[in-house]
Symmetry: C2
Subunit: 157 residues, 2 copies
């Protein structure tokens, strides 16, 4: 099977020390805490022009996952689900994605963000600008998660 190599580009700083401390998603805490994305110095030149965006997509590596599984039973649901129909960490490639609000730089290479849900120290692997023209689907179906939503889809936008 073909494999590819990812390189860590930075580290995420959150108030969540353990998996048990993490919220179900980054918008569940009210108010959402300020988090940081610290980029390693070698990659800082790649942050030019980022300050013009209000929201970003962060990709990060869930390095605390012990073993992947193709099905998982969410604690809030009680029924086994295909892992690709969930956002659970136990997927074949434990790459997580969060759409975060970007509140500017605390220092060069240090981004102030909200809506992260991961453990403090999680490895960062990519930063992308969030583009509503291709990334926003406010009318999308929540599927089997409809009755578990932490926020009303009608409240979006």
């Amino acid at each position: 099977m073909t494999a590819f190599t990812l390189h860590q580009i930075g580290v995420l700083r959150t108030p969540f020390a353990t998996r048990a401390d993490c919220p179900r998603n980054g918008r569940q805490p009210d108010p959402p805490p300020e988090c940081r994305a610290e980029i390693f110095p070698d990659f800082v030149p790649g942050l030019a022009d980022l300050g013009t965006f209000s929201h970003l997509i962060l990709l990060y590596w869930l390095d605390q996952v012990a073993a992947p599984s193709l099905t998982m039973t969410p604690p809030f649901d009680g029924q086994a689900r295909g892992v690709f129909a969930t956002r659970a960490p136990v997927r074949p490639n434990p790459v997580a994605l969060s759409v975060v609000a970007f509140d500017g730089f605390a220092a060069p290479g240090c981004l102030r963000v909200r809506y992260l849900d991961c453990i403090d120290g999680t490895p960062l692997i990519d930063i992308k600008p969030y583009l509503p023209t291709t990334d926003a689907e406010p009318g999308a179906s929540m599927g089997w998660l409809t009755r578990h939503a932490t926020r009303s889809p009608r409240a979006i936008g």
Copy 2:
């Protein structure tokens, strides 16, 4: 520097044979062509419950990228930009992300999707349900890309 290993879980099928054939983004062609995400048999059990969602997030590996760069000059812009302020493939980790419309299964393990923008044969690394409660930010700023948008943000939703 810490590195992680990604495993290919399937392959993307698109009408785009070369990089020159690819649209700027997957919503630029009108109408957008039907594409396929073919999942390797070992991973098909992870697709259970996916059929209840209207939109998915696909993560894929841009294996045609020759060398990463921390800055890049978009062909439509003419000014060098930090790579993290773009969606260009030449990033440190060439993981791409598309929000796609999911039109059901053509066969077990074969998903019918729209809005892909990559070369036919691109390796797939993850499938996630698109959740408007955490993924939709229709009012987000397009930043420096505002004047290059291929679709009006006002047309969203």
